[in-house]
Amino acid sequence: MPDVEIDRPDLEKVREALVERFGAAILETSYAHKELSFRVRKEDLLAILGLLKTDQGFNALNDMIGLDHPAPLGEGRKRFSVLYQLYRFPGFQRVRVVVDLDEGEAVDSIVPLYRAAEWAEREIFDMFGIPFAGHQDLRRIYMPDEFVGHPLRKDFPLEGNEACLLKI
């Protein structure tokens, strides 16, 4: 794991705590544009977020972002990523946790930790087709229920598919 220079001591502390506790589960740490980001093993996601929430005080989920990488990112990377943007108040710090996923691979739902994730996970499920294990109510949120396909995947045509046509 490449060492990362972080010029903010509070974020450095977060990194040290995580690396100390989980070590190998942290696949990659990056620090760019003053934003700290961890890529972690999918299996340890809940444990890591739990630690961030309870010990490090990252008490709010800011956003969840789904990614579909058009080209393989390199060794060991998978097609999809889910980004968790966390917040700490007071202190007003942000960290980002990333998990990589393959087609059809499920990731643990973080709703038990952050209630705000409920709709965000539905959105990512809708847009990318990433299933979240343990989510109570995993339905499409934007698209109609009978819609076929996941619009934000890179192989989904911009003009839409036949499922976009209104069935009247």
Binding site: Q85, R140, Y142
Partner: protein, 355 residues
Amino acid sequence: MGPQHPSTHGVLRLKVSVDNELVLKIEPVVGYLHRGMEKLWESLTYAQVVPMTDRLDYIAAVSNNLAFVLAVEKLMGLEIPKRAQYIRVILAEIQRLASHLAWLGFMANDIGAISVLLFGFEDREDFLDILEIYAGGRLTVHGLRIGGVPYDLDEALIALIRKSLDDLPKKIKDIETLLTKNRIWRHRTEGIGLISAAEAIEYGLTGPALRASGVAWDIRKDIPYSSYQDFDFEVPVLRGGDVYDRYLVRLEEIRQSTRIIRQALDKLPAGEIMAKVPRVLKIPAGEVFHSIEAPKGELGFYVRSNGTDKPERVKMKSPSFINLQSLPLMCRGNLFSDIVGILGSLDIVLGEIDK
């Protein structure tokens, strides 16, 4: 309720189970306005995305512009001239005033004070006029560009802004007489739609709704962007967590915004209004998340670039989307009539929720 209903602020559908008038369960159904913005942005250049962001929160277009533009500039590592930063602040605060005044009208109308709808809109008109004079658009302003602002503020416009700001307190006072002290208004709002600070954080609530629950969290203050650190303003915080407090917080924010605009006008530095930006914008690969304090809450953009002139992925963190999620929580134990009031107090815009 909805998607066609007189008070749903757009096309929102609420599945409501009621026992006579008591709300048992409420489930918002969104997506009626989904336009696939995020997909569309992947096929546009960065400059072309900016006017598209106007269409998200169409009540506060400049705030959307600002959030996206700042995110892209952060990714480029671009330094913006001070004058442009100040003009951005002025525009964003004018937009906040316009948004809050529109909200005030909607909210009052939801509770049944039909006149205040018109008063709020009339006051907002002043600020829309300013935006129209500045950039030619009233709602979809397209008032900012990557690298700065497209136009400079001239003396006439500054005078107009000052005049509008001077007129505002009197107008707000009239509205306050009609609402703040009115017993019916207080009955309808006090103790309604309660949410505690812990719950608010848990549900990711941001903006005035969070501040009304007692959490002092304003990105303008805590993680300043675009020179907000230069201005002296207060962040109104109330502890009640009900509709009335959200209303008071927004009214106070209107006053604070006028303070910020005045200071920015006074201190407006001379200089360039655009940084050097190449005609064809190729942004180095990377990812960035930047958020600002929009009128409705924290508005963030995640921008991921792959080195070409088009973004690989833009994700918007819309405050309304997150705030709406807590509606079922706020509505527990309240009456059917309160749903509209609580929904109004959240200040949601469906263009932003559905993207």
